[in-house]
């Protein structure tokens, strides 16, 4: 093929593709995942469309990026989970399988195929009480690279935002937090991710980045955002009866966490 005949142009094409995708994704609303005493909370803010989805009894998926690309990935994950769940058993449906053999390769193939549009999406998945642990998360990047996290996770428009959001969450005791406290922590992390994603120039130097993250006026970012966005909070909750642990969280349940960010 022509592109691979010329290594320089191939590298340039890949770099262009990365720039294009990152540019499309960067201002999206981050998604934050954090463990709490009764399970896992995924939280984001959005204008109205649903961003956090049920995949299987103990699995959730959320994404940042182009909504139809996220939709295609969501459907692929659901198909895979239900095929395995029926043909083997519910216990055989694991996040690892879905990421390693489903979403990872699919997104990698989309990224590599230069004549087609890539997945303009970064995806976050959560698994409660699976074979790998109690509160497990995976993130899959637009190029198919995936990472495993325990206890907390965050996906924003740029990788630097992910790092700073996770830093904000990392001191928490994910097995002891109340739902409302977990929501409060997730909101603060969201604000940091949102701020960094919207910067014209994101600092590449680690120290500088930490300084920027530390100086974000969290209350101001959230008060502004909550004027035209709504909080979407979904849990996988151990104490739910039955196999299915998915539940939408009512605004009232996290009202104490939200109160400090509401404009009068």
């Amino acid at each position: 093929m022509m592109l691979s005949d010329e290594p320089y142009r191939w590298a340039e094409a890949v770099a262009n593709r990365r720039d294009y995708i990152e540019d499309q994704i960067r201002t999206g609303s981050p998604v934050v995942g954090v463990g709490y005493e009764d399970g896992i909370l995924l939280l984001t803010l959005s204008q109205s469309q649903q961003k956090v989805f049920e995949v299987y009894d103990r699995l959730l998926l959320a994404g940042i990026g182009h909504s139809t690309d996220i939709e295609n990935l969501r459907q692929a994950a659901i198909d895979m989970a239900h095929s395995i769940g029926f043909n083997y058993s519910e216990d055989d449906v694991t996040l690892r399988q879905i990421v390693y053999f489903g979403l990872g390769p699919a997104m990698k193939a989309g990224f590599d195929d230069v004549v087609r549009s890539p997945f303009l999406a970064r995806v976050l998945l959560a698994e409660l009480d699976g074979q790998e642990g109690a509160q497990i998360f995976y993130t899959v990047d637009y190029d198919g690279a995936f990472y495993r996290h325990e206890g907390c996770v965050a996906v924003g428009g740029v990788v630097e935002a992910d790092v700073m959001m996770v830093r904000e969450l990392s001191g928490l005791d994910a097995e002891a937090l109340s739902l409302s406290d977990a929501a409060g922590a997730a909101l603060r992390a969201w604000a940091i991710g949102r701020w960094i994603g919207k910067m014209d120039e994101v600092p590449t130097d680690a120290e500088e980045l930490e300084q920027v993250a530390g100086e974000v006026d969290v209350v101001d970012v959230l008060v502004t955002a909550l004027k035209d966005m709504e909080v979407e909070a979904v849990v996988l909750e151990r104490s739910q009866l039955g196999k299915n642990k998915y539940r939408n969280v009512d605004a009232e349940e996290i009202a104490p966490a939200l109160a400090q960010f509401k404009a009068d």
């Binding site: 989805f53 049920e54 299987y56 659901i78 095929s83 029926f86 043909n87 009866l241 039955g242």
Partner: protein
């Protein structure tokens, strides 16, 4: 454009075939007349809070008792159950497909499957099973019970072996023990002093236990309370707050009261 919410379609893509589809030309050894195997007793009725569904726990093969812990009232989702009489293998397969189909539809299409669609899915699976049913080895005759949030009441549907579905107004019973109690249910409901729909939870469970005991008195394929192993019939209720399985301790108390004891003498 395809919406993609059909779980059976997904299964077919992965090569799955419903048992009845592949076994169309299998013949049983003898040329048996069509006679559904339905050795059990299942009953369901409306009571004050919703619907009660109960079944005995015995599984038989001819005159042999195979198993005393069979659960014939199978949960499909948080508001519906399927109670089975007939071939357990096919019945469990149907229940498993439906359980996944309801969840798959909700997750994939981001909306709950309507009650009418759920009834239709079950009906189609029974129709798919026709070849096995006609050979007398795989018929399934279920009762589907659910709580209809929109109507704010419990609903009971029963099926014939070809998949036709009927809504039962007050009560229904199927299985080999059902002839022994169908008349008793009618009598109780009409002249028993209280209709089923007026009974509270305890009275409803107590009467279900009495009826299953009656069925087991006359039908050898219906099990009764198994004293040596302490096994009660399965009893489930479906109300506005969802599906609940009645725990052994609660059943024991009501069994003593209604079947053995003080309430036993009066309806």
């Amino acid at each position: 454009m395809q919406s993609g919410g059909d779980f059976v379609d997904l299964l077919r893509q992965s090569g799955y075939r419903f048992p009845g589809e592949n076994l169309g030309d299998v013949q049983s050894e003898r040329d048996l007349p069509f006679e559904p195997t339905d050795a059990t007793t299942i009953l369901a009725f409306q009571y004050a809070d919703g619907v009660l569904v109960a079944g005995d726990r015995r599984a038989t093969a001819g005159n042999m008792v195979l198993y005393d812990r069979a659960d014939k009232v199978i949960d499909l989702d948080a508001y519906s159950v399927m109670a089975i009489s007939g071939s357990p293998s096919i019945a469990f397969e149907i229940a498993r497909i439906l359980e996944h189909a309801f969840q798959y539809y909700r997750r994939r299409l981001l909306q709950e499957m309507s009650l009418q669609a759920k009834l239709r899915r079950l009906s189609l699976l029974i129709k798919d099973n026709l070849p096995l049913a006609m050979q007398g080895i795989g018929a399934v005759i279920p009762i589907f019970a659910t709580y209809d949030q929109a109507d704010a009441r419990g609903k009971i549907y029963f099926y014939d072996a070809l998949g036709a579905q009927f809504e039962s107004a007050d009560f229904t019973t199927t299985g080999s023990g059902s002839p022994a109690i169908r008349g008793a249910m009618y009598y109780l409901n009409r002249w028993g002093g209280r209709r089923f729909v007026e009974m509270d939870r305890d009275a409803a469970i107590g009467h279900a236990l009495q009826l299953l005991d009656t069925a087991s008195e006359y039908d050898s394929a219906t099990g009764r309370y198994e004293r040596s192993a302490d096994i009660f019939p399965s009893v489930k209720t479906i109300t506005a707050s969802g599906l609940a399985e009645i725990e052994t301790e609660a059943l024991r108390e009501l069994y003593v009261q209604y079947v053995d004891g003080e309430e036993a003498g009066r309806a």
